[in-house]
C-alpha cells in the first residue's frame, strides 16, 4: 500500500511551482511536440489487423449463414443470388466493425481491409449489396504522406513516409477443417425433406420407404455449412469432422 500525501507548499514552494509551470509552457511554445496529423493530406499508418471495411469473396462462401447469426448488431442479411445460393449483405448503418463475422466465416470469404473512411450520400446506400462488397469502395485519397507512430528514445516520433498506404491487405487464410453432416438417428427421420430443400449444394437426399429411410449425404458436395443441422425438426443431423480421405457417409 502506498500512502499519498498531498503537498501543501509554503510561499517559496508556491512561487517555485508557478515558475515551473510557466517554464514548461515556454518550453512547449519554443520547441513544440506537435501531435497533429494533417488528415486528409497525411494519413496515419494503421496496423495490418485493423478492423475496417469488409470485402467478400463469393467463391469461398458456402452459404452457411453463420456470419448473419453471429453479428451482434444484426447488420448482415442474407440475400438470394441468381445461382440459388445466399450471400451476405452488410448494412453499414448498423455495423459496429467488431469483425465477429470475419472471425466466423469458415471459408475465409469475408476479408478485412484497412479502409475506414467511406462516406455515403444517404441511408439507403449504406445497405451494401453483395455485388458491391466484392471490390473496394470508391474513396478519394488526397493523402501523399503516411505517418507512422514510432517510439524511439522514450519519446514518440512521427515517421513520415512519402507514399500511400496500401489499404487492402492480404491476410493468410486460416487452417480449415473438413466437416460433413451426418445423421445420427435415421430411425427418427420424418422424411419431411426440409434438409433436402435447404441444402445449397444438393448434397443430401432421402430415400424413404415404409420399412426404412436412407439419408444419403454426398461427402464430395457437402461443404459443412450446417444449415440442415439447424433446420431438421427432430435434430438428428450433426456435423462431424472428417479427414481428407473419407468416402461418402451414410
Amino acid at each position: 500500500m502506498i500512502r499519498i500525501k498531498a503537498p501543501k507548499p509554503d510561499l517559496i514552494g508556491n512561487i517555485k511551482l508557478h515558475i515551473d509551470a510557466l517554464l514548461t509552457g515556454v518550453k512547449e511554445a519554443v520547441l513544440p511536440s506537435t501531435m497533429t496529423i494533417h488528415y486528409p493530406r497525411e494519413r496515419r499508418k494503421l496496423p495490418d489487423n485493423f478492423r475496417g471495411y469488409i470485402l467478400f469473396v463469393p467463391e469461398n462462401c458456402i452459404s452457411c449463414f453463420q456470419c448473419s447469426f453471429v453479428c451482434p448488431a444484426n447488420a448482415i442479411t442474407m440475400k438470394k443470388a441468381d445461382n440459388e445460393r445466399n450471400y451476405p449483405t452488410i448494412d453499414y448503418a448498423k455495423c459496429i466493425f467488431c469483425h465477429f463475422c470475419v472471425d466466423t466465416c469458415p471459408g475465409n470469404a469475408l476479408q478485412p481491409t484497412k479502409i475506414h473512411d467511406v462516406a455515403y450520400k444517404d441511408m439507403e446506400e449504406m445497405l451494401t449489396q453483395t455485388e458491391e462488397m466484392v471490390k473496394s469502395p470508391e474513396i478519394q485519397r488526397e493523402d501523399t504522406i503516411t505517418v507512422e507512430y514510432v517510439i524511439e528514445d522514450v519519446d514518440l516520433l512521427f515517421r513520415r513516409i512519402a507514399e500511400k498506404d496500401e489499404l487492402v491487405v492480404k491476410t493468410p487464410p486460416h487452417e480449415k477443417v473438413r466437416e460433413i453432416s451426418s445423421c445420427i438417428e435415421p430411425e427418427s427421420c420424418l422424411a419431411c425433406a426440409i434438409c433436402v430443400g435447404v441444402c445449397p449444394n444438393e448434397a443430401i437426399s432421402i430415400e424413404s420407404s415404409d420399412v426404412e429411410k436412407v439419408i444419403k449425404i454426398d461427402s464430395n458436395n457437402c461443404t459443412g455449412c450446417g444449415l440442415c443441422v439447424k433446420e431438421c425438426p427432430v435434430q438428428i443431423l450433426r456435423l462431424t469432422r472428417v479427414s481428407e480421405d473419407e468416402s461418402e457417409g451414410e
Binding site: 499519498i4 498531498a6 508557478h18 515551473d20 511536440s33 496496423p47 451482434p72 466466423t104 469458415p106 475465409n108
Partner: protein, 420 residues
C-alpha cells in the same frame, strides 16, 4: 413511392413556447426553496459543464444547500437488450458503457460465463488480458484527468492527457485492431494471439507515456491554481465514504484500503508485484492524486506482464475447455471457428456473479441462466458510476457553486457508464 394524388395539409406549428413546461422537481420543492430564500438552479444536460445529466441545485448565496441528481439521459437499457442476444453477442454490448475501459468491462462478463462453464483460461491469455485491462485503466484515468482540467478551465490540461491517451489507443489498435472498443476478450481467453513485436511496442509506449506525463505533472498536477481549486474541496471522511457506498479510487482517497484486485485476485494480478495507493484527506485533490499514482502502478504492471510473457510460448490463448473438438486448429486464433465454438454456449442453470475492479470502481456482473436457452435469462450489471453517485451528491453539500465542476471532475462521473 409516392402516389399520384397527394394531399397537402397545413399544419399549425405553434411559435409560442408551451407554458406548461416539464419541471423535474415538484412544486413543493420550489415553494420551499423560495420560502427559505434559496435559489434553484438546474445545471442541465445542456450545459458546458454537466455531462449528460441534470443536477438540481439549491443554492443559498454561493453555497450549495442540496444537490439532487437527475440521471438517466443516456439509459440504453443494456440489461434488457442482453436478454435477446446470444451470450457471445453481449460482449460488444457490455463494452459500450465506459469508453476507454474495454478490458475491465468485458472482463467481468466473460469471467461470469467462465465461472458458469468452469473454463480454465491459459496463462498467456491471462497475462494479455491483464495488459489490456491495465491499458484501459491508464486510458480512462487520462481521460478523466482531461475532463477535470477542462472543468477547471485549464485547456492545456485537457489537450495533453488526450494526446497521451493517443499512445495508449495506438497500443490497443496494434493489439486488437480497433482503437477503443476492442471486443477482444472471449470466454476462455482472447480472440487471437499477440505477436512479440506488438508487445515490444506496448512496452516502449509505457516509457513514452511516462515521459510525457512528467511535463503534464508540472503544468497541471502541481500547478498552484489547480491545487488551490482542488484542495479541501468536497471532503468525504472515511466514515462518510463507507456510509455512502463509494467505490474504487474515490474510496481509497478517503483512507479505506480496498481494491478488488487485492481482495479477490483474478487474471494475473496475484502474480504481479504492485501496490494499492491510498490517501487520507478525502478531498478532490487526493482523489485526483490517487488516480495519478494508479497510472504509475498500471504502467509497472504492464511492463511486468510483458516481461513474464517472454517465457510463455506463443500459441495457446484460448482454453481447450471451450474449444472442444477444435482445439487443434483454433487455440491461437479463433478465426474461422468463432460461431462454431461460441455461438451455442449454454451455461448451466444458476446465478453467476463476478466483481471486477474497473477504472472507476467495482463492477458487478450477475448472469442468470435457465440452463436451456442460448440467450441469458437475465444479466445484471452495476457500474461504478451508479455506486458512487450518492456519495458525489453528498459531497456537494456546503460547497460553493464553482466547486460543483471541480468535484464533478475529481469524481470522474461518467453518465453513459452510470446509466448503462
Amino acid at each position: 413511392m409516392m402516389s399520384e394524388n397527394v394531399e397537402e395539409m397545413l399544419l399549425e406549428v405553434p411559435v409560442q413556447p408551451p407554458t406548461d413546461l416539464f419541471l423535474p422537481v415538484s412544486k413543493k420543492f420550489l415553494e420551499e426553496a423560495y420560502r427559505n430564500d434559496e435559489y434553484v438552479v438546474l445545471v442541465g444536460p445542456q450545459h458546458p459543464g454537466s455531462g449528460h445529466m441534470r443536477i438540481i441545485l439549491r443554492i443559498r448565496g454561493d453555497i450549495i444547500v442540496e444537490a439532487i441528481p437527475d440521471p438517466g439521459y443516456v439509459h440504453r437499457s443494456m440489461e434488457k437488450l442482453a436478454e435477446n442476444r446470444l451470450y457471445i453477442q453481449n460482449i460488444p454490448l457490455f463494452e459500450r458503457p465506459a469508453i476507454m475501459d474495454t478490458g475491465n468491462m468485458t472482463l467481468g462478463y466473460v469471467r461470469a460465463i467462465e465461472s458458469a462453464l468452469d473454463i480454465e483460461v491459459p496463462e498467456r491469455a491471462k497475462y494479455i488480458r491483464t495488459i489490456i485491462a491495465e491499458l484501459g485503466r491508464i486510458g480512462t484515468h487520462l481521460y478523466d484527468a482531461g475532463i477535470l482540467a477542462i472543468f477547471l478551465g485549464h485547456t492545456t490540461g485537457f489537450m495533453w492527457p488526450f494526446a497521451i491517451r493517443e499512445l495508449i489507443v495506438e497500443a490497443l489498435t496494434r493489439i486488437s485492431g480497433t482503437r477503443i472498443t476492442a471486443s477482444f476478450l472471449v470466454p476462455g481467453g482472447i480472440r487471437r494471439d499477440v505477436p512479440w513485436e506488438t508487445l515490444e511496442f506496448v512496452r516502449k509506449t509505457t516509457f513514452a507515456v511516462e515521459r510525457r506525463l512528467k511535463g503534464f505533472e508540472k503544468i497541471f498536477i502541481r500547478n498552484p491554481s489547480v491545487m488551490a481549486r482542488l484542495q479541501d474541496v468536497g471532503v468525504l471522511t472515511k466514515e462518510e465514504a463507507i456510509k455512502f457506498g463509494l467505490v474504487g479510487p474515490f474510496l481509497r482517497a478517503s483512507g479505506v484500503e480496498y481494491d478488488v484486485r487485492k481482495v479477490e485476485p483474478y487474471e494475473a494480478y496475484d502474480m504481479l508485484d504492485w501496490e494499492v495507493p491510498v490517501a487520507d484527506e478525502g478531498d478532490s485533490y487526493s482523489r485526483f492524486l490517487v488516480r495519478v499514482e494508479e497510472i504509475a502502478q498500471s504502467i509497472s504492471m504492464v511492463r511486468q506482464a510483458i516481461n513474464a510473457l517472454k517465457n510463455i510460448p506463443e500459441g495457446n490463448v484460448i482454453s481447450e475447455d471451450v474449444l472442444g473438438e477444435y482445439r487443434d486448429v483454433a487455440s491461437s486464433d479463433i478465426r474461422g471457428y468463432f460461431y462454431k465454438v461460441f455461438g451455442s454456449i449454454v451455461p448451466p442453470a444458476g446465478e453467476f456473479t463476478t466483481l471486477t475492479e474497473a477504472s472507476r470502481g467495482s463492477l458487478l456482473y450477475t448472469v442468470v441462466s435457465d440452463g436451456e436457452s442460448n440467450v441469458p435469462y437475465r444479466v445484471r450489471i452495476i457500474t461504478p458510476g451508479w455506486y458512487y453517485l450518492k456519495g458525489f451528491m453528498e459531497s456537494l453539500r456546503g460547497e460553493r457553486v464553482a466547486d460543483l465542476q471541480a468535484i464533478y471532475g475529481s469524481f470522474g462521473y461518467f453518465p453513459p457508464e452510470a446509466d448503462r
